[in-house]
């Protein structure tokens, strides 16, 4: 379970999170929607400790992420994250990209790591691209590789940070299909996204973010069909 309790964070003068609270249960898929710069991505960075926070706390399975004695490297093994820029490691092949953390972080042998990585890469449909370098792949393929790379660590949670925003429109579908597959397999996911149809179809709950606050959170049916807050209604009107 991920528990976010009244988290505040500023970059200098700019307050990006103004007291965010949210709980995500195991097996749940929560989508986070909202305009650009509303703090959605920052919240994801805070969950796995890539960004420090100013106030409040975040618990992952009861471990406080920002406590001084928390081993972040260990915690991050349980939390996979995929970014908007797919962030392939350009000097490593697809297979090496995927096995790197298995070998260096989990200390697996090359043989075991290859086996796990190949399984995950086949899972996302890249079984025939193992020896290729990322620069030879399309954006969608690189993004699916990034997903496989995160999944190979067998995380309990997956965070997706606008993973389709930087893709050409015709490549969005293949990445969403992969995520849909994961959701159906019961992975716990927090998905920051601009794809409203996807959020509606896959999520258990949807949260609406604006100006560093969660204004509304509820089932897709509630939030999309009868939003309680006028801000939510305005936002939905502007994007749908």
């Amino acid at each position: 379970m991920i528990e976010i309790e009244n988290v505040k964070k500023s970059f200098g003068q700019l307050e990006v999170l103004k007291g965010v609270s949210m709980t995500v249960d195991r097996g749940e898929v929560v989508s986070v929607i909202g305009g650009s710069g509303s703090g959605k991505s920052t919240m994801l960075m805070c969950i796995n400790g890539l960004e420090p926070i100013d106030e409040g706390r975040i618990l992952v399975d009861g471990t406080e992420v920002h406590a001084k004695d928390t081993d972040l490297n260990k915690l991050r093994r349980n939390i996979g994250i995929v970014f908007q820029q797919w962030n392939a490691f350009p000097h490593l092949t697809v297979l090496e990209n995927t096995t790197l953390a298995l070998r260096k972080v989990l200390g697996k042998s090359k043989k075991d790591a290859d086996e796990i990585a190949i399984k995950q890469l086949e899972h996302v449909g890249l079984g025939d691209k193992l020896k290729m370098y990322p620069s030879k792949l399309s954006g969608g393929q690189q993004q699916r590789m990034a997903i496989a790379r995160a999944l190979a660590m067998e995380p309990k949670y997956m965070l997706f940070d606008e993973v389709t925003s930087a893709l050409d429109p015709q490549l969005v579908g293949e990445v969403l299909d992969t995520m849909r597959l994961l959701a159906n397999e019961g992975m716990t996911m927090i998905v920051v996204t601009h794809e409203m149809a996807f959020a509606r179809e896959v999520s258990n709950r949807v949260a609406f973010f604006k100006d560093g606050l969660i204004h509304e959170i509820g089932t897709p049916a509630q939030l999309f069909e009868s939003p309680e807050r006028p801000e939510t209604a305005d936002f939905l009107k502007s994007v749908l």
């Binding site: 260990k74 970014f83 962030n87 490691f89 260096k104 972080v105």
Partner: protein, 218 residues
């Protein structure tokens, strides 16, 4: 030979000078690169109170003529009674000078790796050092290597200045022959120039080639 009064003895004297030039270059690059790696990593991510003093010291090394650094250090080591031989003094000073430039190359290489890529590595659970070793240094090398090759050539040319503390490298050996046979000055210098060129030119071409090749891949 060449119908001149230059003898094989002169040539072999110059060749041994050239050997010394290469030896000093090697030791200076070895020491300078190792120190540059360490300082570069420190420079790339230290708070200002570490970065500023270190940066200033390295900046001084880059802003004072190397010739004067040789003389100064040589004088200093004899004052405190180290009695180092000139070859060692030459290598040590040139290594420090090299480190000053290498540090900026390494720092530039590290900063050239996008933060997002490093975040991706950390999010997979890689530690700070694993990220540096597996991701940042291999990627940064593409940026660093051409500059590093340029630095190597620069250092090789700068070895000419150890003359000031009495090491007889290639240029000094040429100059000695010139004082004996002043009418052959042009031929002797042409031979010395050719020796520099034979080492320098292919290496600089390799550097340019690598730079072009890597730019195409990005």
């Amino acid at each position: 030979m060449f119908g001149t009064s230059i003898t094989w003895g002169d040539i072999s004297f110059m060749l041994s000078g050239a050997g010394l030039t290469l030896a000093i270059t090697f030791w200076a690059m070895l020491g300078g690169t190792l120190a540059g790696l360490v300082f570069g990593v420190i420079r790339a991510q230290s708070p200002w109170y570490v970065n500023y003093p270190l940066g200033t010291v390295l900046d001084v090394l880059r802003s004072v003529p190397l010739l004067i650094q040789f003389i100064l250090f040589n004088s200093f080591q004899s004052i405190i009674g180290l009695n180092m031989n000139p070859f060692v003094v030459g290598c040590a000073v040139l290594a420090a000078y090299t480190a000053a430039f290498c540090t900026e190359i390494v720092r530039g290489g590290i900063l050239s790796v996008p933060t997002t890529t490093r975040r991706a590595a950390r999010s997979l659970g890689l530690t700070y050092w694993q990220d540096l070793r597996e991701i940042v240094l291999p990627l940064g090398t593409r940026v660093m290597l051409p500059s590093w090759i340029g630095l190597t050539l620069g250092v090789m040319k700068d070895t000419a200045l150890v003359y000031a503390i009495g090491v007889i490298e290639l240029l000094r050996s040429s100059q000695i022959i010139i004082t004996r046979k002043p009418h052959e000055a042009l031929v002797i210098l042409a031979i010395a120039g050719l020796m520099y060129f034979i080492v320098s030119f292919p290496v600089s071409r390799l550097g340019a080639h690598l730079e072009r090749k890597w730019r195409e891949n990005d």
